[in-house]
Symmetry: C2
Subunit: 333 residues, 2 copies
């Protein structure tokens, strides 16, 4: 049921129904009463009005992110808000943290606000177990769900992803070509994006005929001092490595600090590669070679796809964007 | 006019009006029609419903910031959203950029959405000329306006500020006590906060019986490479300085890079002090002494004050929070 049904039953134009909805005084009392009666007959209640205001939409998109103070997600929110605004949509922001229960609760809350779509920003929303994603798949029957750098194959879900696997493959390949053979890999999470990055690293080793060595792969908190301490303890335990690849620039900053603490020359004795090409990768001396994950392009493509969905056009369910390797001072390719 | 007027005129309880508004089926057709008629008589139109849904509020707060990807503002948005959510309010985010016209347009847009209050995050919203702030003062007659680290003296406007002047005074005093006499001062903007910081620096010099030297005070883009280049060119021009104070950590990172480029030892030959104690101040080697501006406390206090305003309690129109100096490796106090 929508404004068209009300218009038809009341025998007035859609513009007139819209005027009644908006409290515009240019409607006769008789017409106004007739429209309100029809709304009542049809059970077209104000909650639906609230959605409607003439167009059956609040022109509002829910954006969920795990942590808006994370620099990657802060950039994503900035670009998403800008692109939505340019298309006449407001954004309601929810910072959910990482617990599944809380994410579900915020999701329900956004749906109860009758938003027109939900954008899940960042790869932290897709869980490893299918049953933990059921609530998203279910909601996608009601309204479009947009994933920024996450992927889930179900009707009504649209993904825009950065090709993290290829980006990491190419970066690892460059290190291998330059003669590095003991490449330590540090990562922060098992998210969709995190797993693709790790796969790229492993695939590059395989392509070079090298085996993947578990003692060179470590998970680490997203904290530069934690990364520095981890590398110091690995080095003290006798582990040899001539390069560090990371799933996040903050870990690469920790690697630079480790090299300084050990007086290792960068990149001769230790090459370091960050991820996201954030401001952090420019703060250190030497500055950190990193991977530009094109967050602006990802967000623009996400909003373009969403507008395509609203326009009932044919839109891609998955859009993949290539990353760029940004050569700075911690590698010598 | 509100739900209470409708309830009284229709001779039904507020709960019943609320049920009609929410499309709850537990209302007789007769009562439902009566309530809709009264709404019509009173001109209580769906736009007002939309605000209402039983409580005459959308439970939504507009947050405006100039740039959500700035690390200070990203943190502010995170804490504001969290505190509002804990109080049952949604946040609509607007990233406005810095042009006055655009800020005004976004402000109008938020008001048209019937938000319950507007929070202006960061000190970029208060202009030097009174006439440029008139639109804010005017709007504050309609709904509460909350300033996070900005100040404007008018009814309906509530400010929570960090005592930037005192923080900068104390930091400059420490430098002077440790024997520094040529303290270069770099700042990014003439905002409310920016002017208070500069005043603190100048007051400390005066308190030490030193004159303020214009050739030691420079405005600089908020960009670490711009700050580094500026310092290199000042040094080449023959300017002598033994300390650099900055209004933002990004400029202090540039100062560290300058010192590295000139092979100056930090802090012996050059002391450096940042501002905001952001992640940037931890990325460099040595790590940068900085000022913790308590953004979480500022945001919590802002939301507490707003809830006090909604509760019709007596609330402070200005709350001042003290900053902390965080001693790291670029000073030796």
């Amino acid at each position: 049921m929508n404004i068209y049904d009300v218009s038809e039953r009341a025998g007035v134009s859609i513009a007139t129904v819209s005027r009644v909805l908006n409290g515009n005084p240019n409607v006769s009392e008789k017409t106004r009463l007739r429209v309100l009666e029809v709304m009542n007959e049809l059970g077209y209640t104000p909650n639906v009005f609230a959605r409607g205001l003439g167009l059956n939409t609040m022109k509002t998109i829910g954006i969920m992110c795990s942590d808006s103070s994370d620099s990657y997600l802060a950039n994503a929110i900035y670009f998403l808000e800008r692109e939505l605004r340019a298309n006449g949509y407001d954004s309601i922001l929810c910072c959910t943290g990482t617990s599944l229960d809380t994410k579900r609760q915020y999701f329900e809350l956004l749906l109860s606000k009758r938003v027109d779509a939900v954008i899940l920003a960042g790869s932290k929303f897709i869980e490893m177990k299918d049953k933990d994603n059921a609530y998203i798949i279910h909601a996608a029957k009601e309204l479009p769900i947009m994933l920024v750098n996450g992927y889930l194959d179900a009707p009504g879900i649209y993904s825009t992803v950065c090709d993290d696997r290829a980006a990491m493959f190419q970066a690892a390949e460059k290190l291998l070509q330059s003669g590095r053979r003991n490449i330590l890999y540090l990562y922060t999470s098992h998210s969709y994006s995190g797993m693709n990055k790790l796969q790229g690293y492993q695939d590059a080793l395989s392509a070079f005929g090298l085996s993947v060595r578990k003692e060179l792969i470590y998970q680490c908190a997203k904290n530069l001092h934690a990364a520095k301490e981890l590398l110091l303890s690995l080095s003290e335990s006798g582990l040899k490595f001539d390069a560090v690849m990371t799933s996040d620039d903050s870990l690469a900053v920790g690697a630079v600090k480790y090299a300084h603490a050990r007086q290792l020359s960068i990149p001769d004795q230790l090459s370091i590669i960050g991820y996201n090409n954030s401001i952090l990768s420019y703060c250190t001396d030497p500055e950190i070679s990193s991977i530009d994950t094109k967050v602006e392009a990802l967000c623009t493509a996400t909003v373009n796809t969403l507008m395509g969905v609203f326009g009932k056009g044919n839109v891609p369910v998955k859009t993949t964007i290539a990353a760029d390797f940004i050569q700075k001072q911690t590698t010598n390719f």
